[in-house]
Amino acid sequence: MIGLEHYLYLSGVVFTLGLCGVMMRRNVILVLMGVEIMLNAANLALVAFNKFMLPGADGTVAPDGQVFVFFTIAVAAAEVAVALVIAVALFRRLDTVNVDDVANLRW
């Protein structure tokens, strides 16, 4: 029987892979993809928790977790649009998408 733990372990593993992507890739677009993978793993955990939640006083379960996922997806879409246009502006100005070359603000 597949329980909550299975989904949460899967979510944790995928989140860690996204974290590795963010830390280890140097291309700004791949870094963004890592962020998306992490958001997606969090969504999986939210839906799984919603499915294994105890019923409320009236015996039904509200789909709160799924509504949260809906919001997360909307925020992720906004974030990706802005971040990708920043990547394009970066490429136009500095002719690179390597995060190591963009160190103007580093002390």
Partner: protein, 163 residues
């Protein structure tokens, strides 16, 4: 049957995510990521979150990944600029620590959740009812956020005169 399906989806999701991270060419990364989102949508169906599964495919695998592919083509990297992972021992320690803490948290789950699945079914009618009553104000806030994102994108994408 359920177990077989779960491990198929979970294995596909982890394998596609690994391929996303390790692929040298960003286009391959994007395509493997679509595969990973498809596996996630399958898991959402197994959790009876039908509406979220459809939104995942439409918005994530559809809109967001098309945006990624579009920008990858716009930037058009030369082949000598493609590179793989740059691993530093600190990163491995950080990722390992996170995974360890996460496993510890999962193995100490509290009493607010149960081991047996409840009978919640995320049909569009049920999710929409909650979304438009209890969460009406956050819903409107999200529309403002999207508007702000559109304006920000247009401002940033415009060629500035002083450049």
């Amino acid at each position: 049957m359920e177990q077989l399906l779960f491990f198929l989806m979970a294995g596909g999701m982890v394998a596609a995510t690994l391929a996303t991270i390790f692929a040298r060419n960003p286009v391959y990364s994007a395509i493997f990521m679509i595969l990973s989102f498809a596996a996630t949508a399958g898991l959402f169906v197994m959790l009876d979150a039908y509406l979220i599964a459809v939104v995942e495919v439409l918005v994530y695998a559809g809109a967001i990944m098309v945006l990624f592919l579009f920008v990858i083509m716009l930037i058009n990297l030369r082949s000598d600029e493609l590179e793989g992972l740059k691993v530093n021992p600190l990163m491995v320690i950080a990722a390992g620590t996170f995974l360890g803490l996460m496993s510890k948290a999962v193995s100490d789950l509290g009493p607010a959740v149960q081991s047996r699945a409840n009978d919640l079914e995320g049909t569009p009618a049920l999710v929409a009812e909650t979304l438009f009553t209890e969460y009406a104000v956050p819903f409107e806030a999200v529309s403002l956020l999207l508007l702000a994102a559109i304006l920000g994108t247009v401002v940033l994408a415009r060629r500035s005169q002083d450049a």
